[in-house]
């Protein structure tokens, strides 16, 4: 009798000790971001933020160990698709996350549906992405959010004639469409709509075209990374002195690049969901910890990664560690929390992010350039969906 009890006890003990090693108790997240190629800075920001989140919040949630598998897709969509498929089929990941560019997210979307694996978009910003699968949730932003808000702001500030200049791909087209529609609806005018090739070395001819149209403001969207060159050429050409305001979504004054852009960029007004100088305690702690750990400033891509991890952790807490895709997505819907960027939530209908959009102006603070927020539009839903 005693012997049997002891054996049972030993077996139970063994089970307890053995349990962390079994796959059942590990939650795997496949993080697919561009770590090489032209979008590499996006991947680095997200990777850094994800690591930071795990340092701060531990790697165990709801009794399960959370393991992040980092993969580089170089922003090439067919790589993304293969890597996502391998992660799902071979590594049996419970989440796929990341996605630096829209085509990459779109390529992986059918897989999320087939495998019922939640897909967390941490960077890509085209509206349609979340409509491509019921298992997609987004923690970054949509370009429509920022573009519509900056249009509202422009109309209020007597900007009637605008030129749009966007990179020629889906997010650019989104930005252009939502900004133009809003401006036109408000009685403004788009005098010229310029599309710039995505891989573009020199903005000179396009800027000259914009200057010749003599608008009140130039609306600009280029992917984060090209903004610096653009702004410098904008001032070099004297467009600022000609009285043309530079406005746009916040990609152009990306925090990652802002410190090196030079004084040329001061005064640029953008609408976006995150600035490293957002005046909340949470954000100050976030920026301090981030800069201490990695020696560069976090940008809006990083909060997408940070909040993406938070969403995953909280969803797991809610399901008590259950990794069923439907339950996780259900748990994510309507979730609200405080992020370094301010209060955010996941829209229960569209699984897209609802967040404050801030109007910011580039200023010099303590000798460093920052996007200083001066107006807030609260709880903005993605206009790409509400419009329908």
């Amino acid at each position: 009798m005693l012997r049997r009890d002891m054996m049972l006890g030993a077996a139970a003990l063994a089970a307890i000790f053995a349990s962390p090693a079994t796959a059942q108790d590990t939650v795997k997240i496949g993080l697919i971001v561009p770590m090489t190629g032209q979008q590499a800075s996006t991947g680095k920001q997200i990777d850094a933020a994800v690591k930071l989140y795990q340092q701060q919040h531990g790697t165990t949630v709801a009794g399960k160990k959370v393991e992040v598998i980092l993969k580089d897709d170089g922003a090439v969509p067919d790589n993304t698709k293969r890597i996502a498929q391998e992660l799902i089929v071979n590594d049996k990941v419970n989440f796929i996350a990341g996605f630096g560019v829209t085509p990459a997210a779109l390529a992986a979307a059918p897989l999320a549906t087939q495998a019922k694996v939640p897909l967390i978009v941490m960077a890509a910003g085209t509206s349609i992405i979340t409509e491509r699968s019921p298992y997609i949730a987004r923690t970054s932003f949509t370009l429509a959010q920022s573009s519509v808000i900056i249009a509202d702001w422009a109309l209020k500030n007597n900007i009637k004639k605008a030129v749009t200049m966007v990179s020629d791909y889906a997010p650019g087209a989104d930005a252009e469409k939502f900004f133009s529609d809003r401006i036109k609806a408000g009685g403004g005018e788009i005098v010229s709509a310029i599309r710039v090739p995505l891989a573009n070395p020199d903005f000179a001819p396009f800027l000259q075209r914009a200057a010749d149209a003599k608008p009140d403001a130039l609306f600009i969207f280029v992917p984060s990374g090209q903004g610096g060159t653009f702004v410098r050429q904008f001032t070099e050409r004297g467009l600022d002195k000609a009285g043309i305001k530079l406005i746009g979504p916040g990609d152009v004054t990306d925090d990652d690049l802002l410190p090196g852009m030079g004084d040329a960029v001061i005064g640029t007004v953008t609408a976006h969901m995150y600035s490293a100088s957002h005046p909340s305690k949470m954000n100050k702690d976030y920026v301090t910890a981030f800069e201490k750990a990695y020696n560069f400033r976090p940008n809006f891509m990083s909060v997408g990664g940070y909040d993406g991890m938070h969403l995953i952790y909280e969803a797991l807490k809610k399901t008590n560690g259950d990794t069923d895709g439907d339950k996780l997505i259900a748990a994510m819907k309507g979730m609200k929390w405080e992020s370094p960027r301010g209060p955010i939530s996941i829209d229960p209908d569209t699984r897209d992010i609802v967040q404050n959009i801030y109007i910011r102006k580039v200023e010099k603070v303590n000798g460093q350039l920052y996007n200083q927020e001066f107006a807030t539009f609260e709880a903005v839903k993605d206009p790409g969906k509400t419009a329908k």
Binding site: Q38, A40, P201, A204, P205, G228, T229, R237, L257, G260
Partner: protein, 286 residues
């Protein structure tokens, strides 16, 4: 209108300075150096470090960018490149692409993957209004520097003793050796100068082309276009090709923005079909 022409010239001049080193190694030494852009990138990053971190004046850092890149070029030439001169073109492609991959990853790690900007002094910013034509000061500087360089290069190749030795070494290395020319040294110096020029181009171009670790791959195509369209037998060929491409590209993007990116490729294909050896070359290349 004239502003567009001016911008095009400046852009073309910039392309020329970055690419002429490639024209020299490819045309004169018959070596396919796809890692050429890596030297341009090195020059750009050296300037960033000198100006932004060490606080050197921008103009003073330009010759230093040239010198440092030339030294790097010389070291690589002596240790690595020298073994690959005799290999086939395809193997040279493999070798230099390998170097590009290494440089991209290394720079990415050391300097970060984001774009870098050189702090340009205020007297080089903005435009001068010259009879109604907006002239960017910085672009004017580029035109001046590049113009001087072109003249100097042409002179050095055509009228100096070194130029004559180089041409002799290229035409027939064995005979040149027999005449007492130190072919290895001539090649090493040429290679170093070519790299140095790329570095200078990178330093000047960082402001206009942008500077990130992906630079060598992003602009490789442009360098190659300049060299093939211009032909590899002289300096004037690539020079004129650069101008044509620069003006064509800028004007194309201004007047027909939706077809902007076709222009440069179309020019190239048409020229190469019309004159397979490039615009300006004696049709004797092998």
């Amino acid at each position: 209108m004239l502003t567009i022409l001016f911008d095009g010239i400046a852009y073309g001049m910039l392309l020329f300075v970055v690419s002429c080193g490639l024209a020299v190694t490819l045309g004169l030494m018959n070596f396919v150096n796809l890692a050429h852009g890596a030297f341009a990138m090195a020059g750009g990053y050296i300037t960033v470090i000198l100006v932004n971190r060490l606080g050197l004046p921008f103009l003073a850092s330009l010759p230093l960018a040239f010198a440092f890149t030339a030294i790097i070029g010389a070291v690589f030439e002596r240790t690595l490149y020298v073994h690959v001169y005799t290999k086939s073109h395809l193997e040279q492609v493999l070798f230099t692409i390998g170097l590009v991959f290494m440089s991209v990853a290394a720079v990415d790690y050391v300097m970060g993957s984001q774009q870098q900007f050189v702090s340009i002094p205020s007297y080089l910013q903005g435009q001068i209004n010259f009879f109604g034509v907006g002239i960017g000061r910085y672009r004017l500087l580029i035109i001046l520097v590049c113009g001087l360089l072109t003249v100097a290069l042409q002179f050095a190749l055509a009228s100096t003793r070194f130029g004559a030795r180089l041409r002799a070494a290229v035409d027939d290395a064995r005979v040149a050796r027999g005449l007492g020319i130190n072919v290895n040294a001539v090649f090493a110096i040429t290679f170093a100068v070519g790299s140095g020029l790329a570095g200078l181009g990178g330093a000047l171009g960082a402001e206009i082309l942008g500077l990130d670790p992906h630079f060598p791959l992003k602009f490789l195509i442009y360098f190659l276009i300049v060299v093939t369209v211009g032909g590899t037998s002289s300096i004037t060929g690539p020079f004129i090709a650069s101008l044509v491409l620069g003006i064509g590209d800028v004007a194309g993007k201004y007047y027909v923005p939706q077809f902007g990116s076709f222009v440069i490729y179309t020019i190239m294909i048409v020229v190469l079909i019309w004159r397979p050896q490039g615009l300006f070359s004696r049709a004797v290349a092998k």
